[in-house]
């Protein structure tokens, strides 16, 4: 079964009838850019060629494996009560690593809350991603250190931040680019439409990277759109392309091309990475309530990691030692993540009053003083009790 036919199979019956009557199969079954088939075969695409060294291919594989291992550890930590919530990226490793490795250091990333693989590519310590899920902060990294903005939880808001940032890049005369990540659910949000409008009219150097993982919590893509998402771009006046989101090579090639276009001053591109979220939306929901059992199985056959491994093995680009070493490295990462999270201290109570304002605020000062006095009153009574 191909990705296209899966999409078509879930289309509302009336829509597919009308489509077939109009004889426009290309709009309901768009071509995916694919460079590596689910069977691990390299294929060529006329617009997106890529030539990677064995080293680079192994690097992409390593990134995906470690990201998946990290994600699995975080899911386990949530189950053990160490995290309040986790948004798993299982199944989306190729979309994230492919696009993430297309970025230059001076590019700027505006993620949603599931871009653990992109964060990995940016050099953000993965344990820093867990603070917000543990509840000790709302984002534990300096966005400017790795040009990786904080996770944004409100759906689609960050696409406007990315657009504004890109407008600034253009004003500065810099040749870097900006990438905004969002999902198929976010494509329904007004902010995403507004970011398309702004980026188009100001010709902002931004790439919109939509990971269409087929589900917005329990709402399928059909509840978000009647046309393939990448086609939205056309109405705003910039190109859209659908890429096989489980093909790391295609994601890398397509994103690289879109970023280069932005750098050349040719404006935004919408990339729709057609992929699948294999797990739940977050650890709070239960996909068995809203998804057919065989759906995941169909997508597992297109697993992004498996197909690259098949290719690496078949072409003898990696030996057994590589895979064994990577296995050890994965376990070390998992262990480190576990230890760091368990040791993550609760913030000091008084830190409640920090960082609300850059320039200070008399009201906060007053409340901090009251809170501090209240806290100190317990210390005093403890002293008196001695």
């Amino acid at each position: 079964m191909t990705v296209e036919s899966t999409a078509a199979a879930r289309k509302p019956r009336r829509a597919s009838k009308r489509t077939s009557a109009a004889k426009k199969p290309q709009s309901s079954e768009p071509q995916l850019v694919q460079l590596l088939t689910p069977e691990g075969e390299r294929v060529e695409h006329p617009d997106y060629s890529i030539d990677l060294s064995a080293d680079e291919l192994r690097g992409l594989y390593r990134d995906m494996v470690l990201t998946r291992r990290f994600d699995a550890e975080a899911t386990a930590l949530q189950r053990q009560g160490e995290l309040g919530l986790w948004a798993s990226l299982l199944g989306q490793e190729a979309a994230q690593i492919g696009s993430g490795r297309a970025l230059r250091d001076d590019d700027y990333v505006f993620p949603t809350y599931r871009e653990h693989g992109v964060a990995w590519c940016r050099g953000v310590d993965p344990t820093n991603l867990l603070g917000m899920f543990r509840g000790v902060n709302h984002g534990g990294w300096d966005p400017t250190a790795n040009n990786f903005h904080l996770y944004t939880i409100v759906i689609g808001s960050q696409t406007l931040h990315a657009t504004g940032y890109a407008m600034g890049v253009a004003k500065d005369g810099a040749d870097s680019a900006v990438i905004a990540y969002f999902g198929d659910g976010a494509s329904s949000q007004g902010d995403v439409a507004e970011s398309f409008t702004f980026s188009a009219v100001y010709n902002a150097p931004v790439v919109f990277f939509c990971q269409n993982n087929q589900w917005a919590i329990s709402e399928p893509t059909e509840r978000q759109t009647r046309v393939p998402l990448y086609q939205r771009a056309q109405g705003f006046g910039f190109p859209g392309v659908r890429v096989d989101g489980n093909d790391v090579l295609a994601c890398l090639a397509v994103t690289r091309s879109a970023l280069e276009r932005a750098r050349r001053g040719e404006g935004p591109t919408l990339v729709e990475a057609f992929t699948y979220r294999m797990g739940a939306h977050t650890t709070s929901d239960d996909p068995t309530k809203y998804r057919a059992d065989d759906e995941r199985a169909a997508w597992e056959a297109k697993d992004p990691i498996l197909r690259l491994r098949t290719y690496l093995e078949k072409e003898k680009l990696a030996d057994e030692a590589f895979f064994t070493e990577l296995e050890t490295e994965s376990e070390t990462l998992g262990k480190r993540v576990r230890e760091v999270v368990r040791a993550m201290p609760d913030p000091e109570p008084l830190s409640l009053f920090e960082h609300g304002y850059a320039d200070g605020n008399s009201l906060v000062d007053e409340e901090r003083a009251q809170f501090a006095a209240y806290q100190a009153s317990f210390a005093d009574s403890a002293e008196e009790g001695k």
Binding site: G139, V154, G168, D191
Partner: protein, 326 residues
């Protein structure tokens, strides 16, 4: 010349011009702010002098205006965005509340959001629906935002300078029915802090606290009360978040009576916050309960009824009398 008589509109225009001139990172953004100079002409001539790259006409999308301003601020710019009228800020309310207000805290202080959101607000100009509202309490309630409103040309000039220079997001409410009121502006004097209240009239019997468009009404009420032998002090709050409670407290502890006046609905309004906190701080100094004069808990009325809705001289004087009767 350092001292010049000008309207609030002109003072804001001059202040924005100075900001653009002083700091190349300052940008003006909004609907119609460029060629037209804004529907109230606050940005008149700025695009002509500073170019389309600095004074940016935007698509008609308020969330987009604020959302992209956030991105520009993250890139190191200092955007001053205009929301054309008060009632149209709500499409941007999500970006202001969930993003602009909280991003500095979310980043544990590592990034700053120096964005000014200018909102012409309040009634009294006979406008149609959504063009006369006073939503300041909705913003003051949100931690991470600072909310200010000048009442005169001098404050308009200086408070805008201070707002642009602030590293915190500022919601800058402009009293649109006072845009054409003139006053002397000393463009060289050093102003007090942005969030300090100012005593605009001394008095000993009662304190009136107001901000923005109501300061003028309160000054007129104080003058009328004077004719009846009542000495009324008037405080111009200038900042609704944070609030200069020290200034209100010291005035109340002198006069013993407090009336808070604003156009916004009394229910859950700034007056409620002031009344509660001053009662806590100055309970034994109060000769009367803190009274509030403001709008009603009704949708903003059609223009022909807004005089009934807006606090006028008589309603303020009635509250003064009621307070003094205790």
């Amino acid at each position: 010349m350092a001292v010049e008589k000008m309207s609030i509109a002109k003072a804001l225009n001059e202040s924005l011009r100075l900001a653009l001139d002083t700091d190349p990172k300052v940008l003006i953004m909004g609907e119609d702010v460029g060629k037209l100079g804004g529907v109230f002409r606050i940005t008149d001539g700025l695009q002509k002098d500073f170019g389309e790259d600095r004074v940016i006409d935007t698509p008609l999308a308020e969330s987009g205006i604020v959302g992209t301003a956030i991105g520009l601020a993250l890139r190191g710019y200092r955007p001053v965005v205009e929301i054309q009228f008060d009632g149209f800020v709500f499409p941007a309310y999500d970006q202001i509340v969930t993003q602009l207000a909280k991003m500095h805290a979310r980043a544990l202080g590592k990034i700053k959001l120096p964005v000014v959101v200018r909102i012409p607000y309040g009634g009294g100009i006979g406008a149609v629906e959504h063009h006369s509202e006073s939503p300041e309490a909705l913003f003051a309630h949100v931690a991470g935002l600072k909310v200010v409103s000048p009442s005169n040309a001098s404050d308009a000039y200086w408070m805008m300078q201070q707002a642009v220079q602030s590293d915190d997001p500022i919601i800058f409410f402009e009293p649109k029915r006072r845009y054409w009121d003139k006053a002397e502006v000393d463009t060289e004097s050093i102003p007090g802090p942005l969030h300090n209240a100012v005593t605009v009239r001394e008095g000993s019997d009662l304190t009136l606290v107001a901000y923005g468009p109501m300061v003028k009404v309160c000054l007129e009420a104080a003058a009328a009360a004077q004719e009846e032998g009542k000495s009324v002090e008037v405080l111009d709050l200038r900042s609704m978040s944070p609030i200069d409670f020290d200034a209100i407290q010291s005035s109340v502890e002198k006069t013993g009576r407090l009336v808070v006046v604003h156009e916004a609905p009394v229910f859950y309004g700034s007056g409620a916050e002031i009344a509660a906190r001053i009662t806590e701080r100055s309970f034994y100094h109060l000769e009367a309960p803190v009274l509030r004069v403001g709008g009603y808990h009704v949708p903003y009325p059609p223009a022909r009824l807004e005089d009934e809705y807006l606090p006028g001289l008589d309603r303020v004087l009635d509250a003064v009398d009621r307070s003094l009767a205790y």
